[in-house]
């Protein structure tokens, strides 16, 4: 009996592997998308949060088949091509490895297509998501309709906002060691230690700092923007759900950096209007002592001995401003 006669016909490994891979990928992708996906952080409190969750889920659905393919091949190899039992002749090192141009090309082409498609997907999501909640700097490329009008009105002190309108609500986020405060130019420019936002509203965050670099990170809103002194960093989102969210500083900014957090709320438009109107009236005396609303402020160089003042520029950013050069309007 020759050795050829005793050798079994090789099963069709590729077909077997492909079938297993397709079944596993479809099942696990569906399970992930419908069971896990809706619970993936940061949730869907805002448009940017929802987009972020969707993007993550899309990436995961694309990545899962790749992961399954690699693990499946590894396990299949271990089981199918493992060393034979004792007593059975085994060539040292196993059969010689051989190249397979078709397989190699397929691997390169498929992975390249996946990566390029994901890159295009990411760019599209960034554009239609108006920056995806990230700080776009002082001159945002992507912004919702009405943002420019809201900016102009905010500086002029003539901004308006009404529930269930398409008005963009301008909110200024001011970081300082080691606390966040928030100004609402649409409501007389009052400043608050609480961040309250209306539901179903386009929000424009204007993030700046009075001292060192901070980073405004409202996790559940999926908004994150650097807070740098004398820079107005603009980020957009649209609120879609009521609820509480956490604001943290995500830039190491000194001894109490770890405590530089607070909580905010998305409330109904009517509740927001009531709160804003009441706070505007309650804080009127204090608001009169605040500097005029500006995109950035210049703190006095002497530390405690002085307030902060508008930098006098109506354009969002001046690169030539000198720290401590401004004096309060008398």
């Amino acid at each position: 009996m020759t050795s050829e006669n005793v050798t079994k016909a090789e099963p069709r490994h590729l077909r077997r592997l492909t079938l297993i891979w397709i079944v596993l990928s479809v099942v696990l992708d569906l399970l992930f998308w419908f069971l896990v996906g809706p619970h993936v952080p940061p949730g869907r409190m805002t448009s940017t949060a929802g987009d972020n969750q969707t993007d993550f889920n899309v990436l995961m659905v694309v990545a899962l088949p790749v992961l399954i393919g690699v693990w499946e091949f590894m396990l299949y190899s271990l089981i199918t091509w493992r060393a034979k039992r004792a007593g059975v002749a085994e060539p040292i090192g196993g059969p010689a490895a051989a190249g397979n141009k078709k397989t190699e090309m397929s691997w390169v082409v498929i992975t390249s297509v996946v990566v390029v498609l994901l890159a295009v997907f990411g760019i599209v999501e960034l554009v239609i998501g108006q920056g995806s909640g990230g700080g776009e700097g002082p001159n945002p490329i992507w912004q919702p309709a009405g943002a420019t009008k809201a900016d102009t009105a905010a500086l002029a002190g003539s901004g308006t906002w009404a529930p269930n309108s398409n008005d963009v609500l301008v909110v200024q986020v001011i970081g300082q060691q080691w606390k966040w405060t928030y100004r609402y130019p649409t409501f007389g420019g009052f400043e608050s230690q609480k961040l309250i936002l209306p539901d179903n509203t386009n929000i424009e965050f204007n993030v700046t700092s009075l001292d060192v670099i901070h980073s405004f990170w409202a996790y559940q809103l999926e908004v994150k923007a650097d807070a740098n002194p004398q820079v107005n960093d603009v980020a957009f989102t649209k609120t879609l759900q009521l609820g509480k969210f956490t604001v943290r500083c995500s830039e190491l900014c000194g001894i109490w950096h770890g405590s530089m957090y607070n909580y905010g709320k998305v409330v109904s438009p009517t509740a927001f209007l009531n709160w804003a109107t009441a706070t505007e009236a309650k804080n009127a005396t204090n608001t009169a002592n605040l500097p005029a609303f500006a995109w950035t402020y210049v703190p006095d160089a002497n530390g405690a001995a002085g307030g902060y003042y508008p930098d006098g520029n109506l354009t969002p950013y001046s690169s030539v401003e000198t720290y401590g050069s401004k004096q309060p309007a008398s």
């Binding site: 400043e191 405590s259 957090y261 204090n286 500097p291 530390g303 405690a304």
Partner: protein, 228 residues
């Protein structure tokens, strides 16, 4: 060594190691007064307001940084002033706080902190007169604040006149110019809550936030709130 001896050695070493682990874990989870934390948990009967008295001074006058501005706290047992900014307080208890403010003031960098916030009744008293906000561009300005960010508590501490007899070294006494600020707040549940002065009062440091503002035990500290 006999088999029994080896077994006894292994068992003994195991017990020592296990004992060390138990000791370390219990020391970690057992509440107590850490070193350097002023304890206010047993100064009053349970449920009664706790009296917490502090003073702010323009220059502490001793230690490694005698020129630095600082807070001091009055030891509830001895009545002596202690350079300590970490205080252990009972949970869910009213704290009656008295601040002897011996430092001069200036305009606030952020006027938002000219408002009294998070205290019982919404007002503090300045030398007996209630106030809910203070315009730091008037009078002697604001010297410091007592601010607990996580409790949304902030009280501006009005400064004394720089032309008055300003105390130059702690502990300061009533023979120097001072403002007495009183307010009450309620502690939350157990936890560690940092407090700080929000006025950048570290003169000579960039943005006023270096030095005493960035060093533990000067212009910031911890409220260690525990179940008493």
């Amino acid at each position: 060594m006999t088999k029994g001896g080896r077994l006894a050695t292994v068992l003994g070493l195991f017990l020592v190691a296990a004992g060390l682990v138990v000791w370390a874990v219990s020391a970690f989870i057992t509440p107590g007064v850490p070193g350097g934390v002023m304890n206010f948990t047993n100064t009053q009967a349970k449920g009664q307001p706790v009296h917490l008295t502090v003073q702010t001074v323009g220059s502490i006058g001793f230690g490694a940084h005698p020129t630095w501005v600082s807070y001091l706290v009055k030891d509830p047992k001895t009545g002596k002033w202690v350079h300590d900014t970490s205080w252990q307080l009972p949970a869910n208890t009213v704290i009656d706080m008295t601040v002897y403010q011996y430092d001069s003031g200036s305009p606030l960098r952020n006027q938002e902190f000219g408002q009294v916030q998070g205290v019982i009744g919404g007002t503090a008293t300045l030398n007996g007169t209630p106030y809910s906000q203070y315009d730091s561009y008037t009078g002697n300005g604001v010297g410091h604040t007592f601010t607990v960010p996580s409790l949304s508590l902030s009280v501006p501490l009005v400064g004394v006149s720089a032309n008055a007899s300003v105390c130059g070294a702690a502990p300061c006494t009533s023979k120097y110019a001072r403002n007495i600020i009183k307010f009450s707040f309620k502690t939350p549940g157990p936890g560690s809550y940092n407090w700080q002065c929000i006025v950048p009062c570290g003169l000579g440091y960039l943005y006023g936030n270096g030095g005493p503002m960035s060093t533990q035990n000067y212009m910031g500290g911890e409220l260690e709130v525990v179940n008493a």
